[in-house]
């Protein structure tokens, strides 16, 4: 799945390849931007009660997930109208340690809004977009090698629900 073109000031979607983070930052950096905040979620070596995580597999309910990523970006711009541009991109498939699974890039004239809107995007994405990750770990003191689905933080909710 290839990242679609930006939709005006919004750029959102799913990719099966590495996230083009530098392209997202360059695109977000408009003449009116005084702050460009970029957040990357990356694969780490441990999870709840588990060490030796070596890889992660992400899957999505693709069409609704694509639509909701775009809605998250649009909602951020509605809540913070000063925002210049918003990019929200999630990667699927098998990712190795330290690879980026998700990128949020927000630009605005001043940093406060860029940070707040970026924080909103990643927090809302985690609760509203139908994506799941499976952790793969190597063997060690705590037990043999294996894999399991990460514990979901909560049941999926609607983007518009009060938080």
């Amino acid at each position: 799945m290839v990242l679609p073109a930006p939709d005006g000031p919004l750029w959102a979607g799913l990719v099966d390849e590495p996230i083009p983070t530098e392209d997202l930052v360059a695109w977000a950096t408009t003449p009116g931007s005084g702050a460009v905040v970029s957040f990357l979620g990356v694969v780490r070596d441990h999870a709840e009660g588990r060490t030796g995580v070596a890889a992660m597999t992400y899957e999505a309910y693709r069409e609704p997930a694509t639509a909701r990523l775009a809605e998250v970006a649009a909602e951020a711009r509605r809540r913070w109208p000063e925002v210049e541009r918003v990019a929200v991109v999630h990667r699927l498939g098998e990712l190795a340690l330290s690879e980026a699974s998700v990128a949020v890039v927000v630009s605005s004239p001043h940093r406060e809004v860029a940070f707040e809107a970026g924080r909103f995007c990643i927090d809302t994405l985690k609760e509203t977009v139908p994506i799941w990750k499976k952790e793969h770990w190597t063997g060690g003191e705590v037990g043999p090698a294996g894999s399991d689905w990460a514990l979901g933080e909560q049941r999926i909710r609607a983007i518009g629900d009060a938080r």
Binding site: G41, Y61, E63, P64, P130, A150, L151, R155, I156
Partner: protein, 82 residues
Amino acid sequence: MSDVRLVVFARARETAGRATDEFAAATVADLLDQARERYGPEFAAVLATARVWVNGDEPAAGLLTVLAPGDEVAVLPPVSGG
């Protein structure tokens, strides 16, 4: 009775043993009863923690939602993206 497509994800997919399936079902509740019967208790346990969507979103009528031919019902375990 309608010919409806079921799509399942993550642990729901693994316990069902497949990603998609077909059902003749009148309502969401009817379809889920048949799915529990077809896939067994492990799937039923996952289903108890999941949300069920129809055509890409949460249906207002929930389990009572009446299904039409070609509808897509999805079983979504707690999400863990990011």
